[in-house]
Structures are given as C-alpha cells and as structure tokens.
C-alpha cells in the first residue's frame, strides 16, 4: 500500500466514524456512548477497536482505554468515565504498550543451565515447567522439591511466596485463595522498602482519618512527598491539586530537593535530610507557645492534655530546629502562624519524611501537628469503599510461617506486617531455610539495599534450593532463578479493581486483556488455578476471567447494570448511592503506650540519626527519589520512558560542588560504608548543601537492552532497537545503601546513608 492509498483509506475510516456521532469525541467525555466492538479511525488501516481496562505501570492504577488495530495494541488513553483520572494518564501509562512488545519479553518458560546467573537457559514447555514446579526434580545436578512434595511431606510453609506488586483480585486470588488453600503463610511483601514506617505510625496513632474533604484544604504542608512527580494515586492527585490551586489553596513543600512537586509548590523549604521531625516539633511548639489551639477540641480528640504537651515540647523552639534542620527559625514561625490561621489545612508526607531512622516518630509528629492545628476534629469523614462481592468462599486455613519475615529477634520493636527486605539476611544467617522460594512481580536483588549481598544469597543453592521467578522480562533476580515462568503483562490480565473518587464515590473497574498474552506467556493467576486443580485445592474457580466474571455478576449494582458484559464494555461502574458519613472518632494516641514499653518516647520527640551526628563537614547524606517517567525498577524496559530517563546523575548543590571542585557533568565517585559507585554530577541550586540525591531508576545490569544496554537471553529484534541512541544506562544507587531498618518499624532507611563524594 502506498502512502496515498493509505491516506485515502484512513480518511474514509475517519469520515465513517465522524458521521457516527463522533463516538470518540472528547467533548462528549463519556464512554457510555461507546458500543461494543466499536471501531474508529486508525493511522494504518482506518479502524481501531476500543477495550477499556486498567493501568498498572504504577500503583495508582488509572482506568484506561486500549486501542487495538488488528490484534496489536497501538495506543492507550485514560478512560474519560473515571472520576479519578478523568480521562488522563501519565507518560508511564502511555508507554504501557512497551511492556507487551518489549524485545526482551520472556515468551516461554525457562529452566536454568549452568550455574545460577550464568545466563544460560533451556526453553521448556509449560507441561515440563508445571511438573518441575509441582513435583520438583533435577536442576543441574541438584534435586529440588516441588509444591506437591512439600505439601505431602507436611512442610508447605517451606514454600515462600515473595511479591513486589500485587493488587486488586490478583492479590486476593494468590494470597487469600491459592496460598491459603495450599497451606503456607510464608508470604513476603515489599512494604518495608516502601512505606512501612508511615503505616506503623498510623497504626500507633489510631483513628487519624480526615475530618475534611482533602480537596477543600486551603493550605497543604507537604513533608517529602513527590505527589506531583510520581505519587501514590499520581494522576488523580495531580488533577485534585491543580483544582485546589485554582481555588487558591497554598502548597508548601519541605524537601531536601527541589522536586517537581516542590517546584510547583508556592514555597519550597529545603530541609537537611532526616530532620523533618525537628521542624515538625518546632511547628507544634510555636502553635502551643502562641496559644493557637482549641484546648477542648484537642483534648477531645487525643489522649494527651495540652499542659503535658506544652511541657513536652517546650525545648523544641524554632531556634533549636534551625540549628538541626537548617530551616530558618523565622520561616518556621511564619509557616506555623499561616498554617494555624488558614482553614482547613492538611499536612501530608511520604518517603522523604519517613523512610529514615526516625521515620515513625516523624510521621507521628505530623499527626500531632494536625491535632494541635485543629485539623483533626472529634468527628471523622467516612467514605464508602468498593465492596466487590466475591462468590467463592475463602479457604480460611491457619497456616505455618517460616521465621524469616520480622528480622532478627528484638531487632525491631514493631516488625508487624513483615520486614521483607530482611528475608535475605535472615536466610543468610539463620537456620530457617525455605525449600522453594517464588518471586512474583518483584526484583529484590535490585530493589533492596546492598544489591551485592542480595545477589550472593539468591545465588546460593544451599540457602535457597529452588528459586522460581514469575516475570515478564529477565530481571536481576529472575536471572538467578532455576525456573522462570513467563507472566502476562498487566495489559493481558483479568482483575477486579476498586478505589474511591475524590468525592468519596466508590469506583469499581476491571482490568481486562487488551491483547492476548504474547507467546506462551500466561497470567500467573491462571497458572495458580491450574496448580490448585491438580492439588485438589477446590478454589471454586479455574481462571482469573471466571473469577472476575462471577464477581461482576454477583456484585449488587453492577449485576443490575449488566454485570460482566457491562464491565467489559464500559470498564467502570460507580456506586452513586454510597454516602459519605461522619462518625465520632476514638481518641488519637499521640502518647503511645506500646512505644513507651519498647523504650521509645511515647509522645513524638526528637530522635537524632546516630550516623548523622558523627558526620564530618565534608561528608554528605545520600537520598533517593523517583522521577515522573519511571516507576521504581520496573519500567526501564519501556523504550519511550528510558529514552527520556536513562542516566541517574547525582544532584549536588552548586556551593558544595564548588568546594569539591566538581562541575556539572563531571564523573564523581560516591563512597558509603558498604561500597562505592560512579555517576555524573548534576550541579544544581535545587538541593540542600548537605544532601546528594540519586534516583533509584537507572543502573540495571539486567532487564534487557533498553534498560541495561545488554540483550537478555530471550531478546528478539524490534523495530526501534537500532535507534537506541543512549549509551549510558546509569549506575544503581542501592548498591551503596546498606540493607537496614529503622529501630521501630524495621522500615528501610533509604535516606540516611552517609557518603564521601569526590571528582574522578
């Protein structure tokens, strides 16, 4: 077909769709007008088919529309029916296509040849893979035990399932049905490298739900949350914040770095890493000293009296905090006054504030500030969540768990919920050995601190006899596996999802395949169902699709709207009848008995970071961050994203750099207590002089050509591979960050590492 002909055909297609009442027109803004099997314009053949689904490039999981030509996914857009992302998606969502057609995609099961990590594989059939997984067998001279063997021997808990990302009904089916019915509670997650200090703080504080609608806030104090760059619920928050700013809300961001969030804030207040707590305590101090609180309201909603708090906070003056954090005392005072008089206000935070040695107390101090400022009323706002009705009963078994998930005995005061980044250390040092270790949508070798130590343990067949990885490409961890199961990408799966809209309306939506799983890849949920059937686990369903279908047809509201068929066509259903209610809250525990018992200050108090106190003036504190076009370790295989972000230069303050003789673009060496790395310097006015910041996205040594520059074993040629123009793929920062945890939650201290920096 020549170009002219193509243009002609394309315009015919266009004309047809235009007459058909402009089905795709953005102005109509509602997908309800779309009909099943709808076809529209196309660049290549004049036709496109539309399939609503759900994104999963990051945990925000926006509702999307997939556009398919012939059988190929050609475009992803936001689903305009969503009241969360309102038809918008980010760069990562747009690049989801790259996940399917990644030239380093695993398309068939693999069995290891040679030593672990040697890069040699045997392509095997699913039958062989399933037999190996179930019954064990020989792998390069060693006998390994399978799922059936472990169960028959009465040691099913020796099967570890360690997941990174797992959401919606994927989680439910894997954990609540399959693993539970199988008989293991040896389940690792990724919480302790993500947000654990924050969730433990919330658990300790208790009933801290908001009193006001987030979107009504007139002032936001943001401690270390990059919500405009790459936050949790990224697109929904971008849209909400944009609307709030249009309505005159003020955003003040405390961060070591001028993140894009800080850049779009009304004010950026640079803080020395790990000292947000000092600033928070001083903000609280000012409010108390200036009598800017409602005594009755405060005492009605917390378990501390104002007098006790005053005494506790009396020494945390703005001048004291300036000394520690570098934030001018006048600035702290003026922000405290402004925060107190602007109502309603909300203090938000994330990793920048709490993935520190003192993270739990920092997050608790945030609750304390909001309680004093009167932003936590005795009544709380209660929003209805989505209530999918799953038609299959949970097995509800009590299963055994290996003692690997909470760190060493007495290492952490509150390892509740697991300290999974310490599983490697526990296996390395302990007696508690797994027989079968399955990694699912996770890359612990790369994602934990101290990559080299991780790799050493995962490589050791004596410590982990049978390592199985379920993955879409050969990651640093998957490269070390004995058996690799090729997973379906998120665009090839079935999942029920649910989130709330800004107005508290439950948004029910589904993820459905916009494309059949490529090659021999399979949704692991379907593999789990298959295994369950072989082991007679009686889950009640035999595939993810069946589960989603039955759930849609069983959930009231959706059932009446047309059930599964409705959801396939529209992707989303809202429960507009769900009402937001207000309930009396139980008292917030600003004074924690449990912390007191564990030997920590029951009311948030200053908690210095020991290594920072011993720093010399030449040393810097290393912090990590995310960028807007990458998600942690798992999107660098997406060529359009990695074209935009592939190096990870170290941000260093102009004055600091000058003292060290470093100029922009110079290669520098960064040395920590466990190792050193080399990267380029990004000399900038946008970072605290005592900090050096490196993103965690670049520096893969596996994960395929686009990510690492190296073709993996499964590499196939692709149209753009010759056009890859960047040579530098960065160096990974986690290699020099020790794999440690904070003393309370065991949460990874991403932002505390002391380093020496020099030009090379």
């Amino acid at each position: 077909m020549d170009r002219r002909e193509f243009v002609k055909i394309a315009s015919i297609g266009s004309a047809v769709i235009y007459q058909d009442k402009n089905l795709y027109a953005q102005e109509s803004n509602k997908i309800e007008k779309l009909k099943e099997g709808n076809e529209g314009y196309s660049i290549s053949n004049g036709k496109r088919k539309l399939i609503p689904s759900a994104c999963w490039q990051c945990v925000s999981r926006c509702a999307i529309l997939g556009y398919v030509e012939n059988i190929r996914l050609v475009k992803i857009e936001g689903n305009p029916s969503s009241l969360r992302n309102e038809g918008k998606i980010c760069a990562k969502g747009q690049a989801g296509i790259n996940q399917i057609y990644n030239p380093d995609r695993i398309l068939y099961p693999l069995k290891r040849l040679g030593e672990r990590g040697s890069g040699k594989w045997e392509k095997i059939s699913w039958d062989v893979a399933k037999d190996l997984l179930l019954n064990g067998g020989e792998i390069e001279g060693s006998e390994v035990k399978g799922l059936k063997s472990l169960r028959d021997e009465g040691i099913p808990e020796k099967f570890i399932f360690h997941y990174g990302r797992m959401v919606g009904t994927d989680y439910l089916i894997n954990v609540n049905y399959f693993l539970n019915a199988y008989g293991t509670a040896s389940i690792g997650n990724h919480d302790s490298i993500c947000l654990k200090a924050g969730s433990i703080a919330q658990m300790l504080a208790g009933d801290v739900g908001r009193s006001n609608r987030f979107d009504d806030a007139k002032i936001l104090l943001n401690f270390g949350r990059s919500l405009i760059d790459a936050g949790l619920d990224h697109i929904p928050y971008i849209r909400r914040i944009a609307k709030m700013k249009e309505n005159g809300a003020k955003l003040i961001t405390f961060d070591v770095r001028l993140s894009n969030t800080a850049a779009k804030s009304d004010e950026w207040v640079p803080v020395k890493p790990g000292t947000d707590l000092a600033v928070l305590l001083a903000l609280c101090n000012v409010l108390l000293e200036e009598n800017l609180y409602d005594k009755n309201q405060f005492e009605a909603s917390t378990n501390v009296s104002i007098d006790e708090l005053k005494e506790h906070l009396q020494n945390y003056t703005p001048e004291w905090a300036e000394e520690i954090s570098g934030v001018p005392s006048q600035k702290i005072k003026s922000i405290a006054l402004e925060y107190s008089k602007t109502k309603p206000g909300i203090c938000i935070s994330f990793r920048g504030a709490f993935m520190h040695h003192n993270g739990v107390q920092t997050q608790r101090a945030i609750y304390m500030l909001d309680a004093i400022a009167g932003n936590i009323d005795p009544e709380k706002r209660v929003e209805q969540r989505t209530k999918w009705k799953y038609p299959f009963p949970f097995p509800n078994k009590k299963n055994g768990r290996l003692d690997l998930f909470a760190g060493k005995k007495d290492q952490y005061a509150m390892p509740d919920g697991g300290v999974s980044h310490q599983i490697v250390n526990m296996i390395d040092k302990g007696k508690n050995k797994p027989e079968l270790y399955m990694v699912y949508c996770h890359n612990p070798v790369y994602s934990n601190g101290n990559c080299e130590e991780n790799a050493r343990v995962y490589k050791d067949t004596k410590k982990i006899p049978f390592l199985v990885s379920v993955d879409v490409a050969l990651s640093e961890t998957t490269e070390l596996a004995d058996l690799v199961l090729p997973d379906a990408t998120y665009l090839e799966r079935w999942t029920c999802e649910g989130k709330q809209t800004p107005d508290g309306i439950p948004e029910y939506y589904i993820r459905q395949p916009v494309s059949k799983p490529l090659g021999e890849s399979k949704n692991f949920i379907d593999v789990a169902c298959d295994i369950a059937e072989t082991l007679n686990l009686n889950l009640g369903f035999s595939s993810a699709e069946e589960f989603v279908k039955a759930t849609c047809n069983n959930t009231s509201g959706i059932k009446e709207a047309g059930g599964f068929e409705y959801m396939k066509k529209h992707g989303i259903w809202h429960d507009h009848s769900a009402k937001v209610t207000f309930e009396k809250r139980s008292k917030i525990e600003l004074k924690s008995k449990r912390l007191q018992e564990e030997g920590f200050s029951p009311i948030p108090a200053w908690m210095p970071i020991p290594k920072h106190d011993k720093m010399n003036s030449n040393e810097l504190i290393l912090t990590t961050f995310k960028v807007n076009v990458q998600t942690h370790s798992r999107t660098q295989n997406c060529k359009w994203l990695t074209e935009l972000y592939h190096e990870n230069p170290a941000w260093i303050n102009t004055k600091t750099a000058k003292k060290k003789g470093i100029e922009n673009g110079d290669w520098i060496k960064i040395k920590s207590e466990i190792g050193e790395m080399i990267t380029k310097a990004k000399v900038t006015q946008g970072i605290h002089p005592r900090a050096i910041a490196i993103s965690n996205h670049a520096g893969h040594w596996a994960w395929g050509k686009y990510a690492s520059g190296k073709e993996s074993f499964v590499h196939l040629p692709e149209s753009d591979i010759e056009n890859k123009w960047w040579k530098d793929n960065g160096n990974h920062v986690n290699k020099i960050i020790p794999n440690v945890g904070d003393p309370i939650a065991g949460s990874m201290c991403w932002n505390d590492t002391v380093v020496q920096v020099e030009k090379i």
């Binding site: 857009e77 918008k88 690049a95 405009i228 697109i235 359009w640 102009t654 900038t684």
Partner: protein, 253 residues
C-alpha cells in the same frame, strides 16, 4: 555636536534595548489591538495550542502520548518538555516548557524546502508531504525551534511501517495529529495532559477555550524576534525560560 552625539548614543541604546528584547525571545501580547491584529480572517479556522505554564508539571505525558500516537522512532521528538532552573539556592525555581512545532504563520521551513514539500493548510496546520521530501534538511536548519528531525529508521518493522513518521530518511515533525483533529478529536498530547496545561482549538471559534484564553491572558510565543509568528502560545512563565533555540530535537548521540 553635543546634541548629535546624544542622539547617536540614544539610538545605540535603542538598538541595544531592542536586541535585549529580541534575545529574551519573548513578546507579551498584552494589548487588545495586538490580539485584534491576529484575527485576520474571522471566517476561517485557525488552529492553535496554548501551553499554560502555570499548570504544566513537566510530566512528559504529552511526549510519550505523541510517540505512541504517531509511532515516532527513538531519537526523534515531535514534542517534548524542557526544564529550566532559575534563581539561587534556596530561592530556586524550576520551569517546564512544553515545545512542539509552532505551526508558524510565517513558517521559515516552507520557503527553505527546495522541493516545496512543506505546506500550510488553510487552518494554519503546517505539514510535510513525505512524497516530495528529499531529506535535504534545509527545513531543519531554517526552523529556529528544532522542531524537525529526520526519521532515523534504516528499516522499520511491519508494525510501524504505516506510521507517516516512519518513512525512511524523510523529515518529520508535529502535525497537530492531523488524523485525529480531522475527525473531531484533539491531538494526543492535549488529550492526555494530566493538569490540562495543553489547550488545543480554533482561534476563530468563539466557543473554544483557546479563543477565550488568548483574549483574557497575557501570552507569549517562543523566539518572537525570529518573526515566525508562532501559533503555539504560552501562558505564564518567566522570560528567562524562553531562550530555547533549536531545542526540541537537540540531544546527545
């Protein structure tokens, strides 16, 4: 003598002042008479895009949406977002500048092409006729924004061959997603823009958002001193950030 000297000095100053104004690359369309001048033929469609820099968060959703929609090869950009930092620590600020072909009224790429491969539609859209393009690259030199690149493919795979951006060794650039706008859709970039910073529309349509914005805000255009009369307008931002010669397709490698 004195007065003559004075006047020479003042004219030198004047030229100096104009040069500075020119270098700054920014002209604010503040007064209404200027806007009225823009409206040459009210009956015609006139396509334009407004970039609201107060809203742009530099997320590059537009950049990637464009890559997907138009199948743009690695190494080329029809649009992208630049970043610029100003001021000293701790008063540092960062600005984002989304850039694309400006669909200039006096597009310098059109006369630069020896083969007359670049044309302007009645609605203002500037596009490249790939059949006529011989990749002489004179358009690339002529465009002050760096909006045009040569498709780097040696041999695109069948899946992407049909994309107009993937014709071997031909010039390519933004065409406002002509295939979308001609069926009533907006371009892929503004369609996905998370904070609604990109606003596309017809400057002659009283009901369009661009019509209203152009008449209410003070807007600027890139490199006004080039005399290209760009049809991509910028709302907000600081003048330091508009010095952006040849930047859309400027990259290493």
């Amino acid at each position: 003598m004195e007065s003559k000297k004075f006047s020479r000095k003042s004219s030198v100053l004047k030229i100096f002042a104009w040069t500075i104004a020119g270098i700054s690359g920014l002209v604010l369309f503040r007064n209404r008479s200027f806007i009225n001048q823009l409206l040459i033929n009210p009956k015609k469609k006139r396509l334009a895009m407004v970039m609201d820099l107060d809203k742009c968060i530099g997320c590059n959703a537009c950049t990637v949406a464009c890559k997907a929609e138009n199948g743009v090869a690695l190494g080329g950009f029809r649009t992208r977002v630049l970043e610029k930092e100003v001021n000293e620590y701790p008063d540092t600020e960062r600005y984002f500048l989304p850039m694309m072909c400006n669909h200039c009224k006096d597009a310098p790429c059109i006369p630069a092409c020896l083969n007359k491969a670049i044309f302007q539609r009645e609605d203002g859209l500037v596009d490249i006729n790939k059949d006529k393009c011989k990749a002489f690259q004179l358009c690339i030199k002529a465009c002050p924004y760096g909006a045009i690149y040569i498709n780097p493919d040696a041999d695109p795979s069948p899946e992407v061959k049909d994309y107009p951006s993937r014709v071997i060794a031909k010039a390519d650039k933004c065409n406002f997603c002509q295939h979308r706008i001609d069926v009533g859709l907006e371009p892929a970039c503004s369609n996905t823009c998370p904070p609604d910073a990109r606003i596309f529309g017809d400057l002659e349509d009283e009901n369009s958002k661009v019509y209203k914005i152009v008449r209410t805000g003070s807007l600027s255009g890139l490199l006004q001193e080039e005399g290209t009369r760009p049809q991509v307008f910028y709302k907000g931002g600081k003048k330091e950030i508009f010095r952006v010669k040849k930047t859309i397709n400027e990259y290493e490698g």
